[in-house]
Every structure is written in C-alpha cells, then in structure tokens.
Symmetry: C2
Subunit: 290 residues, 2 copies
C-alpha cells in the first residue's frame, strides 16, 4: 500500500495523518454503531485534479439519515469544506471513494457530533489494480423480514445509511463461503431487496425495475435513481417494483449498483447462470456514466 493512498479530514481539526487515532473509546458511533455515513465516487485526472461525483446528492442523503437518527448534522458548508480539504490533497489518478462519517459523538463528555471524511483509492478496497470487476456472481440470502416490515416503524431505521452495518458484512462473508462474490437480500415473503452495499436493478421485457424504498427498509440508491433518470430521458421505461425472487433467474439482466462501482452485472445467481441482453447491458452502463 503506497503512501498517499488514504486521506482523512476531521471536523474541527482538518487534515490528519491517516494512521492517527481520531475517535475516543466512548464515541457512540463506535460503541453503539450510532451514526450514519455516505460515500461517493471520486475521479482524478492525470493532472491530479480530483472531483467527487454528485457530492450534493450524497450530502442530501446524509442529511436525511442524520434527521432519521435525531443527529446534529454539521452545516452543509462544513461538509463541503471538509470534502474540499481532503480532495485538495488527493492527486492519485483514477477512481477513489470519498466517505462521509457522522456519529452522535462522545458519551462521557458533551463534545457535539463526530464528523470526518476519508478518501481511499479503489485499488485499496480489494478490487486490484485493474479496478472493480464488471461482472460478479451472487447468492440470495434472507434478510429475515417481510417486504413491508418497516411500515410505520421508524425506529427500525429503514432507508437510513447507519454505521450499524455488521449484518451486511456478515452476509458478504457468507457469500464468499459459498464461492460467490456478493449477495442479493430477500424477504421472508419471497421478494428481492438489495445488496449489502449496493442497490438492485432488474431488467424484464426491456423495462428496468428496482425495489421501492420505504416499507422495504432498503436504502435509496443515488446511482439507481441516476440510471432511472437517464433511462427515462432515452425513452426506456424504469420503475420501482417488488420483484419476486423467482423472477431474478429469468431476467434479461441483473445488476448490483453502487456509486463506487456503478452497475455490475450478475452473471450467476445461487449457482445458476443468468442470461442477459448485451445491448441492454451497454445501455445501463451508459445511463450510469460508466
């Protein structure tokens, strides 16, 4: 891992060394997972100019997460400054991830929320020098709840990108144990949800479908929304719909979608090869700007 692969900037302190300790033992983000985050792609050109993709969209979502958690969110300008502070020192060409982290702060002293940003090169996130893969295999795993579990239950924090991500991480470990790359979560009543760190996109009869946020508890995917908008502009139908798990095996294309990786085609699900429409796959990559 080379020097300069990671940058960290902390609210109230500015840039710190990436190896410096920044969090106390009583920070509720650590002891309770009580906080939220967001992340977006950073593209850096050969001259070393770094730019975050749709930072405002991700700051919007972070603000919604903070509100759902009754968290004090620093002003938008403070986040922008913090991101600029980190990106100003970032000059590694290629793709990186900007992560924004907000916690409820310290339990033992009144010190306000903890907020910081980090920038990490994608090649340091286990994707290798070649960058993230464009196709993957996946398994379906139950998320343990019905599709409407989050209706009128705001304390379950559906749609909130919290720091409490341990089940998502454990599910990805289970996928690797089964020889697959990633996971599509399913409901107890037989619908597809999303991936542990990605949204879901399904093509059927030329129409793009994605799980509706809301009662399902899934995160709104900024990238799925961008794909939907671009698809509609080009005259393709795109809509939110609960997709039965069985339909995944006979789709015309299945993708896991994130801001860091864009749309990644799923070529095998639960060991069964999936077919896809190559023209459509090209369209989807184009909609996402990849």
């Amino acid at each position: 891992m080379s020097e300069g692969s990671h940058v960290v900037a902390v609210l109230g302190r500015g840039l710190v060394d990436a190896d410096e300790r920044v969090i106390t033992a009583d920070d509720l983000g650590l002891t309770r997972g009580d906080g939220c985050f967001d992340s977006t792609l950073v593209r850096t050109d050969r001259a070393g100019n770094a730019a975050a993709v749709d930072l405002e969209g991700h700051l919007d979502r972070l603000e919604r997460s903070a509100r759902a958690l009754d968290l004090d969110n620093p002003p938008r300008s403070a986040w922008r400054d913090l991101a600029a502070c980190a990106l100003d020192t970032w000059s590694t060409p290629g793709e990186a991830v900007l992560k924004l982290v907000l916690t409820r702060g310290r339990e033992w002293r009144p010190a306000g929320p903890t907020a910081y940003v980090s920038v990490t090169h994608l090649r340091d996130l286990g994707t290798g020098e070649a960058g993230p893969p464009r196709t993957i295999t996946a398994v379906t795993l139950t998320r343990g709840h019905p599709a409407d579990a989050f209706r009128e239950a705001p304390w379950l924090l559906g749609g909130v990108k919290t720091l409490s991500y341990v089940v998502n991480v454990a599910a990805q470990r289970e996928a690797r144990r089964r020889g697959a790359d990633d996971v599509i979560f399913t409901t107890t009543d037989g619908y597809a949800l999303d991936g542990p760190t990605s949204g879901l996109l399904v093509a059927r009869d030329g129409v793009l479908l994605s799980t509706p946020p809301g009662d399902t508890g899934i995160l709104e995917s900024v990238t799925v929304e961008a794909i939907f908008e671009a698809a509609r502009r080009e005259g393709r139908e795109a809509r939110w719909a609960l997709v039965p798990v069985e339909d995944l095996y006979r789709s015309d294309g299945l993708w896991l979608v994130s801001s860091g990786r864009g749309p990644v085609l799923v070529t095998e699900l639960d060991g069964r090869p999936l077919r896809h429409d190559p023209g459509l796959a090209g369209d989807v990559a184009g909609y996402a700007g990849f």
Copy 2:
C-alpha cells in the same frame, strides 16, 4: 462529571486517559459496526476494592460473539489482564459497568483486532445519584421480523452482541417520545422478544418465563440465566418459552433484566398499568443477587 469517573485500557497499550483518542478513522468497528462487546457489573466496596461480577460468563459470551463474526479474539488471559488493569485503578465505591469492546480492526493497514475495556460509574449512565430505578414503564415496539427469522440464517447474527446497536438506541428514543422508559420488542407474528439492552422475564402462575434464544435472534442474557438457576435451586419452575404479547398485560410480574441493573419491574406497558405479585418480585430480586 468528576475526575476518575471513567477508565480506559487498550490492548497493547494499557491504561490511557479517558479523553485520549484510541481509534483510527478506518477502524471497521466504527465504519461498519463490525465488532462485538460485552459488559458486566462492577461492585466497589468502601475501601475501594473493585470486583467484576461473573467476568468469566461475560468473556464466554464475548468469545461466542467473536466466533460468530469470524473475529480474532485475543486470548482469555489478555482480556483478564486488561480488565484487571482497569479495575486496579478503579476505586469509586458503588456500582459501575465494565465494558469489553472488540472490533475487526483497521481496514487500511494489517494491525489485528482492536480491543479495549472501559469502566464507567453507573451514576454517569443517566441513572442519577440514587442509582438505577427499580421500576420502569415500557412500550412494545415491533422488531420487524417473525419469531423464527434467524433459523438457519447465521449471517443475520442472531444472539450476537455486535457493535451495530443503532436500532436498539432508536427504539429507546421512540419509547421516551411516547413518555415511557424502555422498550419490549415484539415479533411480526405476535410474540414478545426482549428489551434493547436487556432480557425479558415474565411470571405467569408462579412460573418464570423468558424468550428462548436461537431462532428468535435475541441475545442470551447472562443475568436471566443466573435468575433461572437460582429459581430452580429454590424449587421454582423457570423455562424458555415464546410469550404472546397479549399475555404480557396479564402477567404476575414483568421485568427487564440486565447485568448492570439486575431485574427492573415493569409497572406499566403501552400505558396500561400492570399488576405484580410483591412476594414474587422480592424472590426475583433475590435470585439475581440484588
């Protein structure tokens, strides 16, 4: 908050100032809630001698949590030394909580797991100088899943005391919003589960009942187990059983149970006053050693 109210000891470093930063920005315990913890009561006599109650039982549970997460758990002797290191400097008479925290460690550098312990006086955990209350009011809130959601789904981490606790914290906020002190989680098919930071104990016809761990995903409560053992030694029936939510309102006694507070009697549920058998309540406090 007085000096000496908090002690922190970090694996590989020993005692640190409670205000010192101990965690880097990429610690997976923070960024993913990817870690586990356990906590137990500390009793300190007037001479300042501190002792943790059933440390071994809690280290057993921490080990089970670490195993479920595929986490490298430091050797038992390292945890004992770390706890002893913290307790040796602790001399504040009364009741405190010893917390043991283990995370997957850093994402950007191979540095092994992060492990630390903290000791906090109970009066600094919002319980006031009088110590924790012996009775509370509660509301029922859905946990969003059926009672058997965790069957054959180990990636959902049922029974694992992870750092991803944000829903538990949000549910307690919802309780306060409704004018109550705490929460009893319920399943989508109508059973009681446990509290956000406590086990559940229900008395019916002189028998003590508690939600079975396993398929329900609830945490095993070291304190409920201790109460069950003591009750059985004294000839009282005590067993694991799924209790319908409706039965909570007509129990002979309802408690939320934790190692820090012992059994706390619930006197009102969802605004409905609950009756209880005072003799039985005395017995239960005795079983728990409170």
